[in-house]
Amino acid sequence: MARERRQAGSVSGCESDDDLLSSLQKVRGKMQTSLEGHKPRGRLSREVQHKLGESLKGMFDEIVKQGVPDRFAKLLQRIDDPAADGAASDGGGVSPGDQAAGVTTEPSAESLDRRIIGSGDEGSN
């Protein structure tokens, strides 16, 4: 049984204890589903599947339609052509240091600092 769980973990590329935990959760999830089991699974009608699929796509496409937020357009633009940034910056002046870090100047989430600026991954090359 324990071996099975490990396998379930390794299928999804899991390696650590954390992953073992998450595969345990998966196993628990399965057990729950089967406990609900008075109605057979996997026999969703075509109509229901269609409805679900359409809603899912609709929800997704609603976000897709928002296009490319300025933040990402600028990010890619800046890296493509660093000179363009100094000329056309409306974000309050981007220093060369910021450019090197490849980070926007938007004061969005504080987590940005922690996870992106702080990570140093992009600064390493």
Binding site: K26, Q32, L44, L76, L112
Partner: protein, 183 residues
């Protein structure tokens, strides 16, 4: 760092769906946008490993998915809906529209285990094939298929989609309570 305009344009073209994936995956726009940004930075830093002519979309989705998962391990409690916030919002009987309200769908998606959620989003919304989704998630095609199936079945339960003539709070509540009992 200079990248070819064609590569940059290819990345730009993927951003809208990449972002939709991120938002649907983590259910929070700010976090999702941070995730997209980090994905783009990683991609740029490793642009040599991208082979021109191959699938930029799959490449970026893979990076984002891996970033999300490593973050998710750190923040599992948030993602797993520990207070039953999303589940709670499902406990009122769903509106009896023919169309599923996106709000309900979002709440139900949040209740799914993340591996099922990502599989369903890749195949059912982003338009990847099972093969591509399997490559993105680094697992077998059969695993993706079963995750997608389980995700669909679970969503239908949560949204009381199966038997239109039996719509009612009892079923919904039961499904939600069961779903909420995981943690």
């Amino acid at each position: 760092m200079a990248i070819q305009p064609s590569v940059r344009d290819a990345m730009l073209r993927v951003v809208p769906s990449l972002r939709a994936f991120a938002i649907s995956l983590c259910g929070n726009v700010d976090r999702a946008d941070d995730l997209v940004q980090e994905t783009l930075l990683r991609a740029l830093a490793n642009i040599e490993s991208f082979e021109p002519g191959t699938n930029m979309s799959a490449w970026l989705f893979t990076i984002l998915r891996n970033l999300f998962r490593s973050e998710y391990r750190k923040r599992r409690r948030e993602v797993e809906d520990p207070d039953g916030f999303h589940a709670e919002s499902l406990k009122s009987p769903p509106a009896q529209h023919s169309r599923i309200e996106y709000e309900e769908l979002r709440a139900a998606m949040a209740v799914l285990p993340s591996d099922q959620r990502e599989a369903l989003l890749l195949v059912g919304a982003s338009g990847f094939s099972y093969e591509e989704a399997a490559a993105i998630c680094d697992c077998a095609i059969g695993t993706i298929k079963s995750r997608v199936n389980r995700a669909r079945a679970r969503l239908c339960e949560l949204l009381s989609l199966e038997a239109d003539d039996e719509l009612g709070p009892d079923r919904t509540t039961r499904a939600v309570l069961t779903a909420g009992g995981r943690g």
